[in-house]
């Protein structure tokens, strides 16, 4: 079974709005609905879980019904950090699912994820044990201590920018979470960082620059334009 876990627990203060960005309305429905719809329509996805910011669960359930997200089976409360949210999702699923089941973690605020990117993440997981969506950067990167001056250049070919979806085998991810806690690895923002801190390789799948992460009001505008274009309105 392939289970999509939509990560919607973030309350990012940089957005500086009263409504968390995953619930901001775009064309009269919350961003998370677009994300759920994509997984609803994907033939390889059997069930959906939403790991939600406390207090917003009813809204997620109501919109899911409104938009026929019939695959939505669980709405759980997420944690303060990405790692904790991921662990809560895994622990809950482990009660009902098999260790060999596949779990696809995805940010609620990446509503433009394509079917292709999801499929490649699942496929890479089946072949390599995990599939982490990643893209090559067109900008080069400089290390900085203060944000004012640069001290070291990193070639854009030497790294990848990590996105979601991130696909794992449920049993393996559960073990990784337990090992992380034993080793005192906590408070990681992303599951891939936790995995690499355990000393393991992280396997990349196909990401996309169109798989935009909505972090600012500017990004909302860009999402609207990309969505309109996808639907042939531009």
């Amino acid at each position: 079974m392939n289970i999509a876990v939509i990560l919607a627990a973030g309350a990012d203060p940089t957005f500086r709005m009263d409504i968390p960005k995953q619930f901001v309305n775009v064309y009269n429905r919350p961003v998370i609905v677009y994300t759920m719809e994509t997984f609803q329509q994907h033939p390889e996805i059997d069930a959906i879980m939403v790991a939600c910011l406390k207090g917003w669960e009813s809204m997620v359930e109501a919109y899911a019904k409104q938009f026929d997200i019939t695959k939505l089976e669980w709405v759980i409360q997420g944690g303060g950090f990405g790692q904790e949210t991921s662990k809560r999702a895994v622990d809950r699923l482990a009660e009902e699912c098999d260790g060999g089941d596949i779990i696809i973690l995805h940010d609620a605020i990446r509503p433009l994820v394509s079917h292709n990117v999801i499929s490649d993440s699942i496929d890479t997981c089946k072949r390599k044990g995990m599939g982490i969506a990643a893209v090559t950067s067109m900008d080069n990167v400089m290390m900085t201590d203060d944000g004012v001056t640069g001290k070291l250049s990193i070639s854009r070919h030497a790294f990848r920018r990590i996105q979601t979806p991130q696909t794992y085998f449920l049993g393996e991810l559960k073990k990784a979470h337990e090992e992380a806690l034993e080793k005192g690895i906590r408070n990681e923002n992303d599951t891939n960082n936790m995995i690499s801190r355990l000393g393991r390789n992280v396997y990349f799948s196909k990401g996309s620059d169109l798989n935009l992460k909505i972090n600012t009001v500017e990004d909302v505008a860009m999402f609207k334009a990309l969505y309109a274009m996808k639907n042939g309105d531009i």
Binding site: V141, T144, T149, R161, N189, N201, Y203, F204, K224
Partner: protein, 258 residues
């Protein structure tokens, strides 16, 4: 004097089109013209030099003239990479520019460049000797040797993504390009990596997420969408150059959000 140096030497192998990407037309206008218009319309820019792919010089002059880009004064041959293209243009300016003049180097395929970005880039170079437009990274990055798997993650708060424009004092950047050749450094895509190797101190100026580099067909879609939002009047812009519309500083000391 402030001179914009536009890098247009690329052949566009990644887009897999016959037309080099900087000349691909979007809404009846080649990408490079959008870029040139930003510098044409900026009051702090006195002249423009373009390092252009062979065979397209007349095309460039034709389009520029039609679009009223009268600041375009020189078109020189592009090189095999960004470093060579920048060098060709810098050498061509030797009898024209003074040591203290500011050179603003910019990719032809970053047409979403804004007035604010150019202004801040020039201001930083005047103040500190260099201005590299840069943005904080929103995503985790992981180091990789083979592109198939990664190991070490780098905290996104420790890095800046460096784009163009990049502004420098003419004397210093010309020296750096000559010195790099002497030392056998020939494969820098951007001048900042070369300056860094030569031990120069580099300062960031404010960049933008929207200032994308068009290298694939997907990017053309993103550009179209961005260009459409630019015209969206409901998106109110703040006056401060370093704030985006969410009121978030696009540059400054990175901080943890949680």
């Amino acid at each position: 004097m402030n001179i914009a140096l536009i890098l247009a030497g690329g052949s566009g192998s990644r887009t897999e089109q016959s037309v080099p990407k900087q000349f691909i037309s979007i809404d009846e206008k080649p990408i490079i013209i959008y870029t040139l218009e930003a510098f044409q319309n900026h009051s702090g820019v006195d002249g423009i030099i373009v390092s252009c792919i062979d065979g397209w010089h007349d095309v460039l002059r034709g389009y520029a003239s039609a679009a009223g880009i009268d600041k375009l004064r020189w078109v020189v041959d592009g090189g095999e990479n960004g470093q060579a293209s920048a060098r060709n243009a810098l050498l061509a300016l030797e009898t024209i520019c003074e040591e203290d003049d500011i050179i603003i180097i910019h990719d032809a395929v970053r047409p979403m460049i804004s007035e604010e970005i150019i202004t801040d880039c020039i201001a930083k170079a005047e103040e500190c000797g260099s201005g590299l437009s840069a943005i904080r990274c929103q995503e985790t990055i992981m180091m990789t040797e083979n592109g198939r798997c990664g190991h070490a993650g780098i905290d996104r708060n420790d890095i800046m993504r460096v784009q163009t424009p990049q502004a420098y004092r003419y004397g210093r950047v010309l020296w750096a390009h000559k010195e790099a050749l002497k030392r056998g450094i020939t494969n820098a895509v951007y001048t900042n990596t070369l300056m860094m190797e030569l031990g120069e101190e580099l300062y960031f100026s404010c960049g933008s997420n929207k200032n994308i580099k068009i290298t694939t067909l997907e990017d053309i879609d993103i550009f179209k969408a961005l260009y459409a939002t630019k015209r969206d009047t409901w998106l109110k812009r703040k006056n401060s150059g370093c704030m985006d519309s969410a009121g978030i500083e696009s540059i400054g000391k990175p901080h943890h959000v949680r």
